[in-house]
């Protein structure tokens, strides 16, 4: 495993997609791991009381999954220097074995002179996007030994 080299990345490049099925059990596991025990993520009653159709996934779980797409592609989770997302629609998770499928896609939106790239991420449930303006800024490997012949076009 090694960090992706900046000379191997082009603007507009699409990252390999990621599909994740999220079930109620996943929400319980994430609640425990993250310490976020907001009952709208595990209690039907609490979800309905605030006008939600059913239990919804933690926005932070969706964001974490979105960043899995990026860290896998980058080859090093330590390369993610910035990440952001808006939680635009709730991910409703029914009480069944199938849960809800979330589809993630990523694209290199910008390649900067400092060797970082900005990946724009989309997350969809059925036909609706559930994250807005989701991005990750990745510091790629720009060391001269990684691609000595092609290093000349990168400053720093």
């Amino acid at each position: 495993m090694s960090r992706r080299c900046c000379t191997d990345v082009a603007e507009g490049e699409e990252l390999p997609g990621l599909e994740v099925r999220v079930t109620r059990a996943d929400l319980v596991r994430y609640a425990g791991a993250s310490g976020d025990f907001n009952p709208i993520h595990w209690s039907d009653r609490a979800a309905r009381e605030v006008g939600l159709p059913d239990i919804v996934a933690h926005g932070m779980l969706t964001m974490a999954l979105a960043n899995r797409l990026v860290t896998t592609w980058a080859g090093d989770p330590g390369a993610v220097v910035e990440c952001a997302a808006r939680f635009t629609r709730p991910v409703v998770v029914p009480d069944d074995a199938d849960g809800t499928l979330i589809e993630f896609a990523g694209k290199v939106a910008e390649r900067r002179d400092d060797g970082t790239v900005v990946v724009a991420i989309t997350a969809r449930c059925a036909t609706q996007t559930v994250l807005g303006r989701a991005t990750a800024t990745v510091a790629l490997d720009c060391s001269p030994h990684s691609h000595p012949l092609r290093h000349g076009d990168i400053s720093g």
Partner: protein, 153 residues
């Protein structure tokens, strides 16, 4: 507006420090379904030049939400938890979080405003290491939906 705007500018240092452990990182990585060796295997992390296993990019939320507890449970702020949803989140990592880190966190209230019948609370959590060096800046926007708001956003 239900929230007290005089809270803007206040800061809440989290009591004590947070010791980042390998087992907690593994538990978090499991919960997001990620078996990246850099989260799980210290020898792989060390071979990649890290002192220990890394935490996933959104792991810092565990610390940021801990640091938020004192503020959002303050009755003076006037926040109704049941109507609170997470609007947006960002992390700026000044360096990766790793097992063995002993972290401190301070929460800052950056903004309180009303928009479209909802209240928006903008928070910033500055996470630092034992030497006081910046590790992560976590920005959170919480939306407190107005009681007549029909749509969940």
């Amino acid at each position: 507006m239900a929230l007290d705007p005089s809270f803007v500018g206040r800061c809440y240092p989290m009591a004590g420090t947070y010791q980042v452990g390998r087992a907690k990182i593994r538990e978090f990585a499991d919960a997001i379904g990620d078996d990246d060796a850099l989260y799980l295997a210290p020898d792989v992390a060390q071979a990649c030049g890290y002192s220990d296993v890394l935490a996933p990019p959104t792991f810092a939320i565990t610390l940021a939400q801990r640091a938020q507890k004192e503020l959002i449970s303050d009755p003076g702020l006037g926040l109704d938890h049941r109507r609170m949803v997470h609007g947006s989140q960002s992390f700026t990592h000044h360096r990766p979080i790793k097992a063995g880190d002993e972290l401190a966190a301070t929460l800052y209230v950056d903004g309180v405003r009303a928009m479209g019948g909802n209240d928006m609370l903008t928070l910033r959590c500055e996470i630092t290491d034992q030497a006081g060096a910046p590790v992560t800046t976590a920005r959170t926007m919480l939306v407190i939906r107005g009681s007549d708001a029909e749509e969940h956003r």
